[in-house]
C-alpha cells in the first residue's frame, strides 16, 4: 500500500503558484505588466541548481532529481556543475571547516543574482556534529536564503524548500542586489 504523502498538506501554505500569469492589464492579443514581474516569473521557473553534496543529504537529493519526485517539474531540469552558470547553490551535507573555503569560493564564482539553499541539519547548523572540525552551519561563511530541516530531509521537504526559493526569486525586486542593505549583508560576510 502506498504511503500517503503527509508533508505540508495541513493548512494554508504561504506559497502561491502563479497559474495565470502576473497581474497586469490585458486586452485582445496584448498584455501590459511590470518588467519586474515578468523577470521574476521567468527567473523563478528556470532556476539552475548547483548541487554541493557532501554526504547523505546528497543521496536524498538524487532521489529528488529522479523520476518519482522530479525536480525538473519546477524548471530545474538542468543541474549545472559549473558555478558561473548556476543560480541556486544547494549545500547538502556536513561541511567540515576545511571545506568552508571551498564552499565560499564556489559561492563567489556564481554570478549575481544567486541564491543559497541549506539542506539538512548539518548544512543549517552543524547538526549532530558538534565538534571542533565541523562548521556550525554554512551561514557562518555565506548568506543563506532557505533552510530545509531534517536529517536527512525527505524529497518532499527539498521540493518544499525549492518552492520557497522560487517564491523568493519571483518576489525579489530588481534593485535588491544594488541596495545598501544587500551590500551591508555581503560586507558582513567579507564579500567585497
Amino acid at each position: 500500500m502506498p504511503r500517503p504523502v503527509r508533508f505540508n498538506i495541513n493548512g494554508e501554505t504561504d506559497i502561491k503558484l502563479v497559474k495565470e500569469g502576473p497581474e497586469g492589464y490585458m486586452g485582445e492579443a496584448f498584455m501590459a505588466t511590470t518588467l519586474e514581474q515578468v523577470v521574476g516569473l521567468a527567473r523563478s521557473k528556470s532556476i539552475w541548481p548547483l548541487p554541493f553534496a557532501t554526504s547523505c543529504c546528497g543521496i536524498e537529493f538524487m532521489a529528488t532529481m529522479g523520476s518519482h519526485y522530479d525536480l525538473a517539474r519546477f524548471g530545474a531540469e538542468r543541474v549545472g556543475f559549473s558555478p558561473r552558470q548556476c543560480d541556486l547553490l544547494m549545500v547538502m551535507g556536513t561541511i567540515a571547516k576545511k571545506m568552508a573555503p571551498v564552499v565560499k569560493q564556489v559561492y563567489l564564482q556564481m554570478a549575481e543574482p544567486r541564491w543559497v539553499l541549506a539542506m539538512g541539519a548539518c548544512a543549517s547548523s552543524g547538526g549532530i556534529f558538534d565538534s571542533y572540525s565541523v562548521l556550525q552551519g554554512i551561514d557562518q561563511i555565506i548568506p543563506v536564503d532557505v533552510y530545509v530541516p531534517g536529517c536527512p530531509p525527505r524529497p518532499e521537504a527539498v521540493l518544499d524548500g525549492f518552492m520557497k526559493v522560487q517564491d523568493l526569486v519571483h518576489k525579489e525586486q530588481l534593485r535588491r542586489r544594488h541596495s545598501d542593505k544587500y551590500k551591508d549583508l555581503m560586507t558582513s560576510y567579507g564579500i567585497q
Partner: protein, 165 residues
C-alpha cells in the same frame, strides 16, 4: 619468538630503563623514559633476533590526572618476519612535550608524528616538517587534549536542553 624472549632481550640491553611490562590481550607492552625512545627503537630495529622493522602506528594519549607524565606517545611495532607485534610507550610532561622524532628510523613516522602533533601538541624534536596535517591551519589549540569541551565553541543556535546536555 615469545613475549618472554623479547622482554629478556630488552632487559639484558637496557636493564632498569625498560619497565612496566604487561601483556594486555597477549600483546607485549612496555615503557621507557622519553630520552631513551630512539635508543630502544633502534635496538628493536637492528637486533638480529627482534627485527621490529615496521611501524604500524604511532599516536598519543592524554592522561590529565597523571602529573608530570600527562602525554603518552605510543609506538606499535611489527616484526614482519615472525609476525609478532609489540607496543612501546614513552611518557612526557605536558609542559615540556618534547620527544625525539623517529622519522630517521621509520619514514612512515613522518605523517603520523604530524598527526600526533596536530591533535595532542607533542613536539617531535628533529622532525623535518612538523606542522598541522589534518586540521585547519588557523586552529590555535590541540583538540584531542582533555582540556577543551567536546562541543564546538562557535555554535550559537544549539539549545543544551534539546541536545541532552
Amino acid at each position: 619468538m615469545t613475549n618472554d624472549q623479547i622482554k629478556q632481550r630488552l632487559q639484558e640491553k637496557f636493564g632498569e630503563a625498560v619497565s612496566n611490562f604487561t601483556e594486555p590481550y597477549g600483546m607485549l607492552t612496555f615503557e621507557a623514559p622519553k630520552d631513551f625512545n630512539l635508543k630502544v627503537l633502534q635496538f628493536l630495529f637492528d637486533d638480529a633476533e627482534l627485527r621490529f622493522r615496521f611501524l604500524t602506528d604511532l599516536q598519543a594519549v592524554h592522561y590529565p590526572n597523571e602529573k608530570g607524565r600527562e602525554l603518552a606517545v605510543v609506538y606499535h611495532l611489527h616484526n614482519l618476519t615472525d609476525n609478532v607485534r609489540i607496543r612501546f610507550k614513552v611518557f612526557t610532561a605536558i609542559d615540556t612535550p618534547d620527544v625525539y622524532s623517529a622519522t630517521a628510523l621509520y619514514s612512515s613516522a613522518n605523517w603520523m608524528e604530524r598527526e600526533t602533533y596536530d591533535f595532542y601538541g607533542v613536539n617531535f624534536v628533529g622532525h623535518p616538517n612538523l606542522k598541522r596535517i589534518l586540521n585547519v591551519d588557523e586552529m590555535d589549540y590541540f583538540p584531542m587534549r582533555k582540556e577543551y569541551p567536546l562541543e564546538e565553541a562557535t555554535r550559537v543556535d544549539k539549545d543544551d536542553d534539546m541536545f541532552g546536555r
